[in-house]
Amino acid sequence: MKGLFKRDLALAIRAGGGFGLGLAFFLIVTILVPFGVGPNTATLSIIAPGVLWIGALLACLLSLDRVFQVDWEDGSLDLLATSPLPLENVAAAKALAHWVTTGLPLVVAAPILGLLLNLPMPGYLWLMLSLALGTPALSAIGTFGAALTVGVKRGGLLLSLLVLPLYVPTLIFGALVVTRGAAGLDATTPLALLAGITLATLAGLPFAAAAALRVNLR
């Protein structure tokens, strides 16, 4: 499992588009927002939590279709399925690798983008905390979606349609943490709920993803 994780990590870094593309996308989405809503800093600081969370979510979505696609095309997924490693662990390792290459950079980059959007000062800690706790859920849910659509050619659009509605609770609690934190309110309740969602998806969805993979590999 560790080996698979390391391999995925190395592939994502060497092939490019792992760290770089998601981050660049996050940056562009965030920069486009002021063009759309106007440069008024008061408005921007109100919408900053939501925009940052939606940007992170879309950046996660962007790299999902390669979680299994490349391995599926060159046959390594069949090898992984026949290896002694349970398919559930494969799915979990893939989700973890996806999070390290996509979610983690977003957590680090988010405060800089928060600066651009004039996020109120108390919000930064909550922003990083909520992204750090919430993006693993995005990766876990996304891996499940990728497992469902791995057999579909050009399944990117379908993947978004399937995964985005599943992102709703994560997004609600994640953005709520930052909104409340930025307003100086107590944000521990939504944070706890966000952590709960993350833990539940991490515990449950690898099984669903493995089930979907088994069907697709049949």
């Binding site: 469902l148 985005l164 609600i172 609690f173 709520l176 969805l205």
Partner: protein
């Protein structure tokens, strides 16, 4: 001793549903006709909301059936996953567009009613938003059915999606309550009109509820029959090719 699982046999299902369909459709038409005509023309106007309340004879039943259709798909998916009865998977597939249309009707009639009463076509109320998300779930479910060619894989994958989606739909529903109360005041209106409703509105509403229920049943039976026939046709074509 006959059991429910007999209807897992497509032929048995076809003969029984063919015998049931005229009755179910007839009862649906009768109940809908009585309920809607009674509700629209023979009930007094509400003293505050005027005649706009009458849209609830369509709105409430379609909203109830929109949720129930998903629950039915969930049960059918479970039966498919556990016992692998093809009729069950096809019934789930057949129910999805019907449920989606009921969701759309509920959203649409709600918007029509909300415009004069709330002064807005749309409000980000938890209940409304939950229905919008349910609509997206239906869309995704149907899109996945369409995207996968092998019918058995499609049935498996959509079942998994339905099971996972149901969990997330419930979480979303309660997350939305949290979201709305956390940001601003709660819902201004509750749609639970049945609780304090007078008999003269309740009886036509009952007919309308039953009508929508039977309408759903009729449509699902009809569409399941179509799906089974399509499957048979495909098998026949494949046989022709082989020969």
């Amino acid at each position: 001793m006959s059991s429910l699982w007999e209807y897992a046999n497509p032929r048995k299902f076809m003969t029984t549903s063919a015998a049931l369909l005229p009755w179910v459709s007839g009862i649906a038409a009768l109940c809908l006709g009585v309920g809607l005509v009674w509700g629209f023309f023979f009930t007094p106007d509400d003293f505050r909301m005027g005649s706009t309340v009458k849209i609830f004879y369509v709105h409430v039943p379609s909203a109830i059936m929109a949720v129930n259709a998903w629950v039915m798909m969930l049960v059918c998916s479970l039966i498919w996953v556990i016992r692998r009865h093809h009729v069950s998977a096809l019934a789930a597939k057949a129910a999805a567009p019907v449920g989606m249309v009921f969701t759309a009707i509920a959203l649409f009639t709600g918007a029509i009613w909300g415009q004069p009463m709330w002064g807005t076509w749309w409000e980000w109320d938890p209940r409304l938003t939950a229905f919008l998300i349910l609509f997206l779930f239906y869309l995704g479910y149907m899109a996945l059915w369409e995207a996968i060619e092998n019918p058995d894989s499609a049935a498996d994958l959509t079942s998994v999606l339905c099971l996972v989606g149901s969990v997330f739909a419930v979480i979303s529903r309660y997350a939305l309550v949290f979201w709305n109360q956390g940001l601003h005041q709660g819902a201004t209106l509750s749609l639970d009109a049945e609780q304090n409703i007078a008999d003269e509105f309740w009886y036509p509403a009952l007919f309308s509820l039953a009508g929508f229920g039977f309408l759903f049943l009729a449509l699902v039976l009809y569409r399941t029959q179509t799906e089974i026939r399509a499957r048979r046709l495909k098998a026949l074509i494949a046989q022709e090719r082989m020969a």
